[in-house]
Subunit: 480 residues, 2 copies
């Protein structure tokens, strides 16, 4: 069901018509629309989960959990809209004594306009039609046009129908959430004059192509892409000595979780040579079971990615798990830090699926040299002990990641105010997160109103509204 | 004095070496460095202003004022660094009762790394070597490499020497502020792997070329460009009736200020046909005096731009001012709303210099149709009376501007917390301001620290620091 050019124009006209209604909507209206979407999705879980399972093979337990994550996300953004700090309100009263005299200026953030969302294969709910990009865009006050992922077309259609109907029933305008399908429609979408920003979660090649289209427009738009991440992990010798078995079990659980199909999967793990950690991992992995991958393309790419790594003379296979018929079996490879430093393009490319690469290092210098060639990542994890001096390692990890973990594993991504899901290129194309409350900033731009009569100001900037909203006035912050 | 490839590599190595020192610097250090730069510039004003006047012909009064604006800007950013809200600190404590359990997460903004600044011709101090882009980048914790504007090379060199020496004397590392010269060096700068973001103020064509280079990198970087703006003004019939003479005087003063060389010059003014406003302007302009333009290129482009407008059959000249030998004389042109609606590419292109285009409208429908084709602008100004229903006009103006004025004229841009100097393309390439305190956000990215031991956290995120910094903890905002 490819969207035709004519259909796309109809979709864009509806989105453009909905945009001013969303922009004008009150916080209470917008929050109620988001909650209506969440309620409708929760109510439809019994219908949607089996469709999702058939199309993605992710299993009912995981998918039911993901519905909850998705509706929780919509409700979080409803509360973000109500709380109002996202408006970044700043008021400077007129100052006749300044040189030159200063007029009154009141600033807040307003929605950029219709947003395109390119959904992901690996989270058919939480990073898809009604996922985080959509929730944050709607919360900002923008209608959304989603490009359905080809990996779950039926789920995308039903989700869009359910959410669009719920939004309209709650009072939102027609055209608030719409779906397009097909690669050509996606390319046209990101170039359409009515689209003012785009969110994307997917591959480096696909994301780069869309980023180039967005940047190449006569009027370039921001393209918030999450493209690829190897999520480096560093384990110190002291950590292996103190809790090697626990760390090996943690790593094994993390890189095989969801059949290795998380953006935050630990893809490259720097381990001390000869500290026995490798043996602990090798002992555990044969007991792991893989499974079917999300799509035929990912299924085909997985052995190719492993073959690409194995072609490097430094790489050896140290452990294999098992898999049911046609599924992907977990696999652990190993190389050394010198090889990574010499050939990062080969050895540090993201490989989607249940595979991780151990990188043996013999000295901190060798480790640091290899860390310097690690590309930007969503996460970086350090397992060390209190006696370790990790200052240098930490500086290198922080410079290339958006989230730095000191315990645990990166595959859990809480949807909170504090979350940062984004990092230097190619992890993301932007200086913002795509998960958590502050993701809303991506779809907003500041507008300042100079010497405006009160009744012509947007409601949140009026004197009567300020006491109930976090704001700055004449250099001082105020809370409700 | 074109920077060679070898020299650029030395510059970039020094910037890269300075970056971690800036990133680690405390708020007190960074603020003292910014103030040292401001003090040194103030102390050198007597030397710098004559150089600036010789190179830009802007006159001593304006240039002395601009030095004050520039050093005030550096000191504002010192206070922004000390205040700390720009760090956007968010702490979520661990929650074992959440499903799934949530680890502790502490988020703040950190500098992106070395920043390239392309300085402007029309503000040789305030948007140049030590101008707003540089001040906000240094404040964020990033070393800066400035591409000097060819219009004031000697001033650029001396300013860079003075500021770099002051920074170093105050304790900042070598390489904190450096200068490169020449178009080729500028192109290489924005593509250099060590540069992580760029700021630019200049022309649409020059800015677009650099934006394309920044976006086309193997690792694209954010390019914050301010490219061009026609700054629409709407005058209602009631406003003309109530204060036509005052408005005509205000417009005449604004479009001729600084010989029309402000980014916020009112370039297109929608006026009621037959309300007499045009005659008021035509009566005043012959009494105005222009002057020399900033550079030979701008001098040559000014008559070309006017000729381009005059070539449109709808355009007529309604008034001319005078100018000393070789200077640009103020000129007012007029057309009608239907022509603008039909040929926006011709009639709504920014023309730098003392020229403005009156656009006659006979109905609100005609006005609205023309407003819909106005490109993104830094400002939009409405002069109306309390009895006017301006809802529709306002919605159109706000959709295409970063600052909406209800009185006065857009040429004054206060450097404050509330300022927004930026707007939809082509006004700027970004969802941020380039003037005022919040400009700092452009050079920062979020990093979240998960389950970090206190001593390994960046200082602002430690428990001991939080009480003195604005922050959010477990959904609640706290002020010092």
């Amino acid at each position: 069901m490819t969207t035709t050019t004519d259909q796309l124009e109809q979709v864009m006209a509806a989105a453009a018509a909905a945009a001013p209604v969303w922009a004008r909507s009150t916080a209470a209206e917008r929050a109620s629309w988001l909650r209506a979407a969440a309620d409708a999705l929760d109510a439809a879980a019994d219908e949607l989960v089996p469709i999702a399972d058939r199309e993605t093979r992710l299993g009912e337990t995981r998918l039911r959990g993901e519905v909850g994550r998705t509706t929780g996300q919509l409700r979080l953004f409803a509360s973000v809209v109500e709380e109002g700090s996202y408006l970044e309100i700043i008021v400077d009263d007129a100052d006749a004594t300044a040189v030159p005299p200063r007029p009154e200026l009141r600033r807040m953030l307003v929605p950029v306009g219709p947003v395109a969302v390119f959904s992901a294969s690996n989270f058919p709910f939480a990073f898809s039609v009604a996922g985080g990009d959509t929730a944050s865009a709607l919360a900002s006050g923008a209608p959304v046009v989603v490009k359905a992922h080809s990996g779950h077309p039926e789920l995308s259609r039903r989700t869009a129908e359910i959410v669009a109907a719920a939004l309209e029933a709650a009072g939102a305008p027609a055209g608030s959430l719409q779906l397009v399908e097909g690669r050509e429609a996606g390319n046209a979408l990101v170039q359409h004059p009515a689209i003012k920003a785009a969110g994307f979660t997917g591959s480096l090649s696909g994301g780069r192509a869309l980023f180039d289209l967005a940047s190449g427009r006569p009027d370039p738009i921001p393209f918030y892409g999450e493209l690829g991440s190897v999520n480096p992990v560093v384990v110190t010798p002291a950590a292996v000595a103190a809790r090697g078995a626990e760390l090996a079990a943690g790593l094994t659980g993390s890189f095989t979780l969801g059949v290795g199909q998380f953006c935050t999967k630990p893809g490259v793990v720097f381990v001390p040579a000869d500290a026995g950690f490798e043996a602990s991992v090798a002992a555990l992995v044969p007991g792991t079971t893989g499974g079917p991958l999300l799509t035929d393309r990912i299924t085909a790419a997985f052995p190719d990615g492993i073959a690409h790594l194995e072609a490097d003379p430094s790489v050896e296979v140290i452990a294999n798990g098992t898999a049911p018929d046609g599924g992907a079996a977990p696999i652990v490879l190993a190389t050394d830090a010198a090889a990574v430093t010499a050939r990062p393009e080969t050895l540090l490319e993201e490989c989607f699926g249940p595979v991780t690469l151990l990188v043996r290092y013999s000295s901190e210098d060798e480790l640091n040299a290899a860390l310097r060639v690690v590309p930007g990542s969503l996460t970086a994890t350090l397992h060390s002990e209190p006696g370790d001096d990790v200052t240098g390692i930490l500086e290198l990890l922080q410079a290339r990641a958006g989230r730095v973990l000191f315990a645990g594993w990166p595959t859990g991504v809480a949807v909170t105010w504090s979350q940062q899901h984004g990092g230097p290129w190619p992890a993301t194309t932007s200086l913002h997160t795509s998960v958590g409350a502050t993701a809303i900033r991506r779809f907003l731009r500041p507008v300042a109103y100079q010497s405006a009569p009160q009744h012509l100001l947007p409601a949140p900037l009026r004197d009567e509204a300020l006491p109930s909203l976090p704001h700055r006035r004449n250099n001082t912050l105020h809370l409700p």
